[in-house]
Symmetry: C2
Subunit: 263 residues, 2 copies
């Protein structure tokens, strides 16, 4: 699919960390890019695996940076996971960031029958990892849920290990395969598109993660655009299995491409 | 190979944690078992992936528990790794237990060109893992060495994550395959046998780790005996690929089997 010619393009999915902001600041040109896309009448969702903050806090942070967004524009794995836990009568042991605990209020966490990993950052201590491991290894049929599978992300302090690394650690130690909620899980993209009322071939995903953002979106039939901001590294352009529909310097360039493609 | 009939049996390799001791105490009957094996004229080595202490400290600990052993009886991955680092002009960034740092004295650690993981235990902090990751991800050709690949071990506080879990985390995040020094690496068993002057078919390995101890030894042609102490779990007897030559309750039983087999 040639991104440069798609008159039906109607929906834009944007990753947040590394596309809209890096560390605590907006990426140059991204605020204006989101405004332009919105003014052109495109439907926009911010599709993030961010699980260090609640969606409300993330929306407030983005507003502060000048982005014209609200909480409902943000799609994050937590609500999807919570519906799933409730549907399946699962009581999680949580290894998540303290900031995101409010999302789990009202969820029974007694006598846990599964483990949930988010991007817990400093909460990924040896003690907490042993605790989660101890629960998994003592289950007859261990269930491990992971809010995304990211390898690392870019923060003001540099590249930081993401939830995927710790998921791999527990998978190896407890001999279990994690169930992923979030990008690149196909269901996560599909439910977002359904909510937007947009078909896959009418949508584009812009992200800095060649696997979770670009590959995940392409697997669902969306156009996938890689930006050279955030955690982008030149080797991403030679990824063995994922070939982005376009690689651009930043969201400003991606927005221009998207608007051009509709003409 | 039937363990119960091997008149040539001449060398015994024993795992330490979970076979000789569990937490801080000797496993019932193991001290007498080692004495009996030694008195029968068998050559004995303690083959451990233990990297929380130096071999000297481990020998002292075992002596205190009543074991008739000295430092030279202990085969651990550190000396093998150190020779390798020196041979290849490698300058390690160490993520190891503080107790084991003396083993690395005299090794140039400036401007590191590889990362070494041991069983760092409480040193496996988010900060230290990010540090090791940052070094790997910024290398043209990242090299990660891991002192063993254990999933977990039994400690007085319960089952604890071993170095293998954190190796898996960094392998995933930095997209690198770790080079393992220690069990179940074949070279580790071979060099031990060479030092003992014993052929593989004349040797038996007794351990509580079905993969690293039993499988690793069997892959090199040794007899592999699994004990039901330490981190042993009933599911180990149904391991998909490793089938121990014998499974016994503890080292006391293993010693009886070994002595019987020579008749």
């Amino acid at each position: 699919m040639n991104l440069l010619k798609n008159p039906r393009l109607n929906g834009v999915l944007l990753d947040v960390t590394g596309v809209l902001k890096d560390g605590g600041t907006a990426i140059h040109g991204s605020v204006e890019a989101v405004r332009k896309l919105r003014e052109a009448g495109l439907k926009i969702r911010l599709v993030t695996n961010e699980t260090q903050v609640t969606r409300r806090a993330l929306a407030e942070n983005l507003l502060d940076l000048g982005y014209p967004v609200q909480e409902l524009d943000i799609v994050s794995p937590c609500p999807a996971l919570i519906s799933f836990l409730q549907r399946e009568n699962l009581r999680p042991h949580l290894l998540v960031h303290s900031n995101v605990l409010p999302e789990f209020e009202g969820i029974d966490q007694s006598n846990p029958n599964c483990v949930v990993l988010g991007d817990a950052a400093e909460n990924f201590t040896y003690e907490h990892l042993n605790e989660a491991f101890g629960i998994l290894i003592n289950m007859k049929k261990p269930r491990l849920f992971s809010l995304g599978r990211g390898r690392y992300y870019s923060d003001k302090e540099g590249l930081m290990l993401d939830v995927g690394a710790f998921t791999a650690a527990l998978e190896y130690a407890a001999d279990v395969k994690a169930e992923i909620i979030g990008k690149p899980q196909p269901e996560f993209f599909r439910s977002t598109l359904k909510d937007m009322g947009v078909e896959p071939e009418e949508a584009v995903m812009v992200g800095d993660d060649v696997v979770s953002d670009v590959g995940g979106a392409q697997d669902c039939g969306l156009t996938g655009v890689l930006v050279r901001t955030g955690k982008y590294r030149p080797s991403d352009e030679k990824h063995p299995t994922v070939h982005p529909d376009a690689v651009v310097d930043d969201l400003a360039h991606a927005a221009n491409l998207i608007l051009e493609s509709r003409k």
